[in-house]
């Protein structure tokens, strides 16, 4: 598919993105939403389905994120996310204006061994094992989000730029991984222009904007994974070399040179969590919900241990055996560990499909709560828009299983196609690539059947 540069196709877009108001306006809007989440979480009703914080974070926002934003626009949420905003504004000593001088931080150097996704993996698992509590207790949701914002501020004081977003944010990690699927990318038009343009405004910044807060060099960017779509490079590039392309879906998955084990594990964790969340939150096993909800600490510990074991050992272990089989059957020359890392990226489309299917499952069923909490965000009995007494109304319940089946099937087919493309990168012949694809295809088909079993009962 030929890429379409939106900045050329829609010229009106460029002035908007180049405006210093662009990101702050979005952030202020989401910050208002965020403040309401915190307020309702701390002072509103503890009944989750009647609390703005729970309904808007874990139903509305999550569904928008997983069904629309990530699949179609990649990291667009990072453009507007309010969590790093206070830290960033403190660093910059301003919200909109381009302040002169360096960022106000202690200029510590972020440890090299943490410059990867491992902290995000640990953070996500840490949140995930408490998810049944976080997702149902407004006050816990509020404290978790406050914890994120506080961590963002502290890291902004210690380090330059968005260290929190790039290396720590548990949400940013999986958004980055799945943004590889998105049909939208920020890239440079001609990398050779960047090579010869020595001032590197996109890195150090200029009077129009800051150097890339995500610590990227746009000229070398081949994947969406770490680009937060803040559009600073659109502002700072004096060579008019930044483009925002509409492209074919999942084209980052075949970029071989940047594949890493931390990202591979992120793919396993996300897929494992999709399966386990589906079982715990949507499944018929009450005891599992009780264990996850910490009804007794001993049972929760068993649940947490099982959760981590499945995510970190069972799934990767099974996949390692699969890639070992791939190596044996196809006689590919890479080591099993290398193959494990490369082929793990096939789980990105499958995992994203699983999350979309999972999100449809609860968003359509529970979306009507949004009307209630819009009018009565705290559960105090307000009726701001006359929708307080809206009855709970599941939508499209007969359609959901078909949607989930279609999405998972599409995800599986896309993943198999990706597996073949990856196999082809390390195979001499079509036959060798085809054989290499088979074990991975079997693994993914099995996972798909497990997910279908959970969704369709």
């Amino acid at each position: 598919m030929t890429k379409i540069d939106l900045l050329t196709a829609a010229p009106w877009l460029k002035p908007i993105l180049r405006s210093r108001l662009f990101q702050p306006v979005l952030m202020l809007a989401t910050l208002a939403f965020f403040v309401m989440v915190i307020l309702t979480g701390l002072f509103g009703t503890p009944a989750g389905n009647r609390n703005f914080g729970i309904v808007f974070v874990w139903i509305v926002w999550w569904a928008l994120l997983m069904i629309i934003m990530v699949p179609f626009m990649g990291r667009i949420w990072c453009t507007m996310c309010p969590i790093p905003a206070p830290g960033e504004w403190l660093q910059r000593r301003g919200i909109v204006k381009r302040t002169s001088g360096k960022l106000s931080t202690l200029r510590w150097r972020f440890p090299k061994r943490f410059r990867n996704m491992w902290l995000q993996n640990i953070g996500f698992l840490g949140v995930a094992i408490f998810s049944a509590i976080i997702l149902t207790h407004p006050d816990v949701t509020a404290f978790v989000l406050l914890g994120f914002i506080l961590t963002g501020i502290v890291l902004s004081i210690l380090y330059e730029n968005r260290v929190f977003c790039r290396y720590v944010c548990p949400v940013g990690g999986f958004i980055g991984l799945y943004s590889m699927m998105a049909p939208l990318e920020v890239r440079v038009k001609d990398p050779s222009v960047c090579v010869t343009h020595t001032p590197k405004d996109c890195i150090i910044g200029n009077e129009q904007g800051y150097g890339c807060p995500w610590m990227l060099y746009p000229g070398g960017m081949q994947r969406n994974t770490y680009c937060g779509m803040c559009m600073e490079c659109v502002k700072t590039c004096t060579q008019n070399n930044i483009v925002i392309n509409v492209r074919s879906i999942g084209s980052d998955l075949t970029v071989a040179k940047e594949r890493r084990l931390d990202e591979a594990y992120k793919a396993f964790i996300m897929l494992g969590c999709a399966i386990l969340y589906s079982a715990v939150l949507l499944g018929p096993w009450g005891w599992m919900k009780d264990w996850a909800s910490m009804e007794s600490v001993a049972n929760w510990l068993i649940y947490a241990a099982g959760f981590l074991f499945i995510n970190l050992v069972v799934l990767p272990g099974a996949f390692a055996l699969t890639t070992g089989l791939t190596r044996r059957l196809s006689k590919q020359t890479l080591s099993t560990r290398e193959l494990f890392t490369h082929y793990a990226y096939v789980l990105v489309p499958l995992g994203l499909a699983a999350w979309i299917a999972f999100s449809f499952g609860f968003a359509l069923v529970n979306g009507s709560y949004a009307l209630v909490v819009l009018s009565d965000p705290f559960g105090f009995g307000w009726d701001l828009f006359g929708t307080r007494d809206t009855a709970w109304q599941p939508v499209g319940t007969t359609l959901i299983p078909f949607l989930q089946t279609g999405i998972l099937t599409a995800g599986l087919l896309f993943a198999i196609n990706t597996a073949y493309k990856i196999a082809a990168q390390y195979s001499q012949t079509h036959r060798q690539a085809f054989i290499a694809t088979l074990p991975v295809t079997g693994f993914m088909t099995m996972v798909t059947f497990i997910l279908l079993g959970l969704y369709l009962g």
Binding site: L28, L39, R50, I95, G379, G381
Partner: protein, 337 residues
């Protein structure tokens, strides 16, 4: 004014203004109603009502706003007010505005079986006279209760009333209200049995004894039908059924089988009101007293703080309908085929 300044104002509005606006709106709403009291309901194991004591002045309009933090509760206020606020779903607010016109003590309580300790979900409204705030209304001296005390009746014991211990009660067939009604027109019914006050203070077994003496040719089975007919209210009792369903079914079962959802965890097995053998040995005033005072050591709560004496009698009357409910086969434990 520069863009930066505008952005900072917007930030201040969000971080400071939004909480203040929410607080102000809530305060304004509360002020719109004088004396608004927020009462949060949680299952008893989590604390029940909060607050569980409300003190208000007599003749003062008050709005009680009930919300639930966990499961669906039902709210009613008694005794004597017949106020049913209805179901309060988690996170929803149900409110009622009322004025108490005389000092006293009232109870708000849960009417929906919400947990094993559901019956503990009660709160007290103390209505005081501002001119004499320390005045405590004297406790209600229930004449029925006092008469039982004077009579030396132990309401926790099984009662045979009129020294009928030697009388053998044998149910040889399913009792029939219809048969009882037909026979009542032909058999001799002693005058005292025809009086409601007598029936309330004597057992059906005692009445059966009197009937047997007055009608020596009738079979006991037929006379049991007559007694049952005399004890069973002829009119439907929807209010009493509602009280029973709200307050009694959790232990005693919807049809009085003693098999409610928590019957297995009470200190003693709940009484089966559909057991004719039990009911024939039970006085109405004793049932009344048990209802109002509660059962010692049995987990039977007191309902004297929830129901007026009249409402209590209605429930007692309703209990007599349980052995012969047409929608549920009676289960007289003492039937000998």
């Amino acid at each position: 004014m520069g863009r930066e300044t505008l952005a900072r104002i917007a930030l201040a509005c969000i971080v400071i203004g939004l909480p203040l606006a929410a607080y102000g709106y809530e305060t304004q709403l509360r002020d719109a109603h004088n004396n608004v009291i927020e009462i949060q309901a949680s299952v008893s194991e989590q604390g029940g009502f909060s607050p569980d004591v409300v003190r208000i002045a007599v003749d003062t309009e008050i709005t009680l706003r009930f919300s639930s933090t966990d499961v669906t509760h039902g709210i009613a206020i008694g005794p004597g007010w017949d106020i049913n606020v209805g179901h309060v779903d988690p996170g929803k607010v149900e409110e009622i505005t009322l004025t108490f016109d005389e000092p006293g003590t009232y109870t708000y309580y849960c009417t929906t079986f919400c947990s094993a300790d559901h019956w503990r979900m009660r709160g007290v409204i103390t209505v005081y006279d501002p001119e004499n705030p320390d005045y405590v209304p004297p406790p209600y001296r229930d004449p029925v209760m006092f008469k039982l005390v004077e009579e030396g009746v132990n309401i926790d014991a099984v009662h045979t009333g009129d020294a009928m211990q030697d009388m053998e009660l044998v149910f040889t067939r399913e009792p029939s209200l219809e048969n009882g009604e037909q026979l009542a027109a032909s058999v001799t019914i002693p005058a005292e049995i025809q009086e409601q006050d007598w029936r309330r203070t004597h057992t059906p077994l005692g009445a059966l004894h009197l009937l047997e003496r007055a009608n020596p040719d009738q079979s006991q089975a037929d006379l049991i039908d007559v007694v049952l007919y005399l004890w069973t209210p002829t009119q439907s009792l929807p209010q009493a059924e509602s009280y029973y369903n709200s307050n009694c079914t959790a232990c005693h079962g919807q049809y009085g089988g003693g098999d409610g959802p928590i019957s297995g965890i009470t200190a003693e097995n709940p009484v089966a009101f559909n057991d004719l053998g039990y009911m024939f040995q039970m006085r109405g005033d004793v049932l009344y007293a048990k209802l109002r005072r509660g059962g010692m050591g049995t987990d039977m709560p007191n309902f004297g703080t929830l129901l007026t004496p009249e409402e209590t009698w209605l429930v007692v009357d309703y209990l007599w309908t349980l052995p012969t409910r047409s929608d549920e086969p009676s289960n007289p434990a003492s039937i000998i085929p």
